[in-house]
Chain length 280, copies 4
């Protein structure tokens, strides 16, 4: 059944283009992103301004651009401890090309890893939205902590499995203050930290600090893991490169003796199926 | 078989740690990347300096940092035309989480897409290495073009399926000149362009320009696709977000009538296997 | 900081092996899966028995093995209409290796695509669990339909965007009857279909039929998308191969003229940031 | 710029459909794969016949179908030792959905892992093609071994890092003999083994045995890793499920003390860039 004129007519009548976008228009020898010609953007804006322009649709004011630069740098690398870095290096060791290694690393950005920043942003954004003015934030912080502790749930963005006081969070909060980038979401995060520190000795981590700051910049929580990915990508690339040039290919990441097998005793196949037929 | 003291002894004796890195050291409340504390890096360096530090191991001089900023911006987005963007949006439409959409998009960075920059860098780096001085570059460029044209092979980094004169390449080359970032690899690229333009009317594209510039900055060709990925990630994230918030879920990207089926006539299963048994 | 004896002692004391499994034990020249030696399994069991053994931990009775064979075959391929197949082919066109193409295709198995079978299995399993005997299933089916229609939600496993009566579902249900594989979950699915057909003219699709049948075989709903993937993989591989050997590399999947751009009017970069600084 | 009638005319004139396939035709309520209606295939063919039909385009004779069943079973699982299984479990631990875990696992099927079977098939297929009759195979085997040993290269499909005599290979070769599925490629593999065993004490592994057998069945080497993936998928799914239901989320796969850091001494950021500006 070849493509026929009728079917194209039908597509045309349907009137809905299959591909539409408001991000970038491409014409021969001309590329326009969010209204700006790429010729002007290249050399005209910083990378953090470009990130903001692409995701938020507008160029940020100067203080926001500087803050975003610091946010991106803060995500850069955490050595070989994250599962994303380990997975990327294992895939590199197995001989896959760089882009497949990076993709595999990003697949480990699940709800327990980079997902934390999204859940933290969602929580802050919903809480701030529910307040009628900034005066209500301290009470909202209290309720937020109470609700989580009573339900025995961790508050995303607080506590870290390696750091008691995450040095990145501390620095980011200082800069947010310096650059005039503290808005209601960061204030909420700070209130939560104060209560949590007193009650449980737990402080904000890099995700919590960035969740507050990015929310104050206007980033929808659904884009939070994306910003994390941008920041972390140079680190992942560096690890994949290190694995490829420095370690033996297809190396063993642990010895067979370290594996605990706790499965079945050996069974005899000739004994037939393990299960009875389904009763009819 | 539980993990035993003996097996750990054995691991210890083997003396080769399973995980080692020279990128980042993580200790409780302290993270040190390429020798610099992350507390100092956050707010102290730009994102492009961080990219350079992570991948090259050193902080770049100021002009190189500015140039790298422009390089990263130049990769930002090309609308919905690249297969990576289309794949990422399709995966978003199917209801996968953001990190899976981005990973899927990056998987399309194969040898015909982002791979072009790697092949271009490899070609430039090998050609420049084979020259004893910069005086030999014009002749090397001539040989490079001759070899490719005779073998009827495209030169990676030249020509573009949408642009006759890629506006990004033009701008990048201007900036490389302005910032004092033209070295032997970019010179080679310019020589190749001159010859190719005369003979075939073909100009450098964004990959070719960046291949020359990144090579002059000291980036190993194996890291070229990685730098492309960093630059393109904000665009991919923006497209995934646009797909998720604006288009209907699980939409049809084309109509069934547009598909041409040119397979077998219908066959009857009861006729048995299509093939004869293997001759013994 | 080299690996020290103390730290290994500490690992040992912690007593929790990092890697343990009950699936397969590997020793030199001996591999034992779910208690059976692989030497016996190869040639001794069918692939569908192996699937059952790996995922459920036991060998199935004969009728279940035959039914599972049919289930796997029913997932095999749906031409180029699914986003998973389109994404895999696009990634192939971009020049990525086969395993990256397949991985990219699977990433499109999101909640709107292969996710449907999981949601359908979950719904059936929860509904059947809430019934004290099979006699309650008709009423439970009625409540299930009412709840979804009132909330204006689709019931996963029913309706198909291309088929009014999915031929795969019809055939699977016949076979389940023939093989004695109809249990309470499939009965529930049939009851739901009867009500839905009368009220909305909507029938079960391949996911709904398999959701009932797999649930009756004892598959946890969390493994449903996995079984779908096993069944679909041969189709994906076939499409990736077809793309690679038959279509031009890096082909355009649509023309630039088909893209609708509905973004900003052009803007002038020299006008400065689009946004006001954050109010302090 | 909306989609216009002209542009569609242009597409139409171009005459090349964007999507064409010879695998499956989809019409409302009818799905035809390789000429057979899916209603007939479901319950009418085994899964291994379906794999053959999809990839090779024809239904196999009975002995080939049985052999392929054994081949698929032989790939099923190798415990937690392969990087693909480790990567999939790490991604599961990070909280990603099942399909993302499986995709990540498959990304580790690089040239040092599942890639071995492709390289082995390619080598066997090229060697057999270069022989004018089967009588030349022993000499070809000798040359093949000599060439590799002289170049100090491993022959893909021989030797295993855990098994001296891979029990799967032994069993597969017995079955190929029993089922009448030994053709020239398997003969070549056996000749190579004989020489290699004598010279280096090295035997065929599961990849080598399957490479010979699949080549004799007519599978193009480009589809070899695909067949491996089909066979391994049930094992990967089983591991992802085990990780998700049995292990703590986001667990540490090793302790921070086990990581060796061999990077830079600490450096002071205020000292400025590490590198001199590029010489102009």
């Amino acid at each position: 059944m070849a493509i026929g004129k009728e079917s194209l007519e039908q597509v045309f009548r349907a009137g809905s283009p299959r591909w539409r976008t408001s991000i970038t228009r491409v014409e021969p020898n001309r590329i326009v992103t969010r209204g700006y010609s790429q010729e002007d953007l290249i050399g005209g804006v910083s990378f953090s301004e470009m990130v903001y322009l692409l995701i938020r649709g507008e160029l940020p004011p100067q203080n926001v651009a500087r803050m975003l630069e610091a946010v991106l740098v803060s995500f850069c690398d955490h050595g070989v401890t994250p599962p994303s870095t380990q997975a990327a290096r294992m895939i590199a060791s197995a001989g896959s090309p760089v882009h497949a290694c990076i993709a595999g690393g990003l697949l480990a950005f699940g709800k327990n890893h980079a997902g934390a920043i999204e859940r933290s942003m969602k929580l802050f954004q919903e809480t701030v939205s529910s307040c009628e003015s900034e005066d209500e934030i301290p009470d909202a912080a209290l309720r937020l902590v109470d609700d989580h502790l009573q339900a025995n749930r961790r508050i995303p963005g607080f506590g870290h499995r390696y750091h008691n006081a995450d040095p990145r969070a501390v620095r980011l909060l200082e800069l947010a203050e310096d650059y005039g980038c503290v808005g209601p979401h960061t204030s909420l995060a700070l209130e939560v930290q104060e209560i949590l520190l007193e009650r449980k000795g737990v402080r904000m981590n890099v995700d919590g600090a960035n969740a507050g700051i990015l929310s104050d910049m206007g980033f929808d929580w659904r884009t939070g893991a994306g910003v994390f990915m941008i920041g972390r990508l140079p680190g992942l690339i560096s690890h994949v490169y290190e694995e490829k040039v420095r370690e033996p290919a297809f190396r063993k990441f642990f010895e067979i003796e370290e594996i605990q097998y706790d499965g079945e005793e050996e069974r005899d196949l000739s004994a037939g199926a393990d299960l009875e037929p389904m009763p009819e």
